[in-house]
Symmetry: none
DNA sequence: GATGAATGAGCCTTCATTCAT
DNA sequence: CATGAATGAAGGCTCATTCAT
């Protein structure tokens, strides 16, 4: 009797609660390890009772995973947009770097958990979740690696392992994150991005005089 | 027949046990968060009983701290040696990069814990330990930042925040670590180092045509 | 139909649980040392789970302290009432003796713990708790000693150290407690009180022929 | 082949070690609860290794029990000597009081443990030990009670339950102990004994004018 | 015999999860 | 649906006891 197509009020509330809880968790994760954040705290920060969380999430594990997935999916979509947009590989890579930095700043809290879960190899974590994580990771790496490969093929980039370049790019982005934390927000990301891009483009661009100082 | 000067048998055993336990802890930390690794597990992995650990360490906190300090102190000493050696700033930085990569490969296990603990800001962790960590971190950053600053002052490097450059360098080194894990050891570090150094030196070196997009 | 003015149902439950747990602890303390009674046992005796205790008490220390304080405060108040009432010092002392005996019988469980904790001198016990205990002890001794001192000053009592007399009084009261336990409740306290009072008053009252061997 | 009658050197050493350990335990028990004193501490205080204690005692329980028994047996013997000596019941009781006070001062450490074990009713304690304790207790009470009974039968004492009087006597002796602890040794036992004896004898002696103030 | 390193049962406490209200 | 009191598994740590040296 109830038209299933248009979102019921119940669904709206559910959506809202879910968001609120995830937001609270994210806030707490910003400055603490996953294991030291308690459900009690998340509930309090979200303004709901402890038990309520369990109406929207299977458990703590599930909650954290949702958090990561949520952000990951969005980021992948954004990157895909860049990849399929127009521009040279270098330009696209610069856009990706900028995007990653944006996400890093916004979702700083999740990166440690993300990186760790990825490394854990499924130990102690739900297999499904880990597979999903792996898939997201692989999608990301594949897309960005494609960009580097394109540049290399086009003879614009130095002939390095494009996958390694992807990791280096991400490493630099994360470094900016740590730098921010270390510098106590005194430096805006905007100042860091150009430096990162310079290093990247200058280092990447094929140049006659690029003498590699073999350690 | 071989009587090495002094060490008592007891000291040898103590030394051995301490190593065993630290090694076990390191192994576990490789793929898990500090908080999720239990003393029971460490004991089991070290082949001793739970109580035995407490004969060699004050407690969990102490154990982890020892682990990180151990490696950190050595690395700082090595970096200092490079800094005070001879060569241009760029050469020194390349040496530091190489050294970091060596340590990363050897002590891969500790980096996640190290990075995370540093970010967590002492919340939930023993203050003394965190202070020590902070000190080591600061020493490292200071020393390497000095190198970048020297290069910038000498007009050899692009005029960027030298501290940021330090973080970027470390970020790239870590990236190689993740790359290795991701690639399943198929790629040796030796292949990654030249790429990293090229990015670094080409990006760093002041060049006429380097159009830095100054935000 | 019966709506008692204010107390929430929650408050009632809290009150009830708190009492239950304290009662259980008291029961166990009756025949065991504080240190040998476990939280698990207390929980079991109170009919709740181990964790539940921690919803009502900070921890074991806190629980024990509450137990002793609870009774102590009330007793101190009662004694103060006697002290500030009317009557000769001897009469007041007799009233105090009677009161102590009442408490002893009702709260028999706590006296061993109380006495022992007092003797242990804070070693191994939370400082705050021990200070509180010390304060109550000192208040008690001071008040009763004042009574004896009054009697001595008035020339009604033998010239002994009034503080010592306080301790002797309490010692006799406790003796009655042990006597009861030993006699297996066969003897009522009512039979013991007159004897105690006779010893006390006859021994205390200054008499011509009382040859006190003044050291 | 070895004459079993004369004590071997081994037996002498055993005797010595046993004493040393018991003495150390007693020293520690002076200011701490039985449960908070560790075997490690006792060993250290006795100047032997932890394992050595187990060559002379079955375990901690056994050690404590030996301690109590040792003193108890001696005290019982001393009391028996008084009982079977000559003098009026009152004189004997005064001697017993004096003796108890001596023991209390010397073996202060053991009384809490003694009293508790007695109350525990065998719960958690070796049955044999508890029976022994019970026997000692009963012997003590019986002997002293006999003295009071004699005095009462002789019409010299007030007609009270002689067993109760025994407990009161002991209670007062213990009170002196607490007084000493409380006064921080400032007062010698010698000053307390006369007061105790006065209370006892004056209160005990049948007197025409002894008006019992019924609460 | 003496030692003390090793053991592991057991303690206090925390916190993810459940469920009666 | 929402709540939060109750639960109990699990963790860090202590210490009585054992046993190889």
């Amino acid at each position: 009797m109830n038209s299933p197509s248009k979102p019921t009020k119940k669904e709206i509330v559910t959506e809202f609660r879910t968001r609120e809880i995830l937001a609270a968790a994210r806030r707490l994760l910003q400055s603490r390890g996953v294991e030291s954040v308690t459900m009690e705290e998340i509930a309090a920060a979200a303004g709901v009772a402890k038990g309520t969380i369990y109406l929207y999430f299977q458990g703590k594990e599930d909650l954290i995973q949702d958090l990561i997935t949520q952000v990951g999916e969005q980021m992948l979509a954004d990157i895909e947009a860049i990849v399929q947009g127009s521009g040279t590989p270098l330009e696209k890579i610069q856009q990706v770097a900028s995007l990653l930095l944006d996400y890093l700043m916004r979702e700083r809290a999740l990166f440690p958990a993300y990186a760790r879960d990825l490394l854990q190899g499924g130990r102690g974590t739900a297999t499904t979740y880990w597979q999903h994580l792996q898939e997201m990771e692989e999608k990301f790496v594949t897309m960005v690696t494609r960009l580097f490969a394109d540049g290399i093929e086009a003879g614009q980039f130095i002939p390095a392992d494009p996958r390694l370049l992807t990791f280096l790019l991400r490493g630099m982005v994360r470094a900016v994150g740590y730098f921010q934390v270390s510098a106590g927000q005194r430096k805006a990301v905007q100042e860091a991005l150009p430096v990162l891009l310079t290093l990247l483009s200058s280092g990447l661009t094929r140049q006659p005089q690029a003498e590699v100082a073999a350690g």
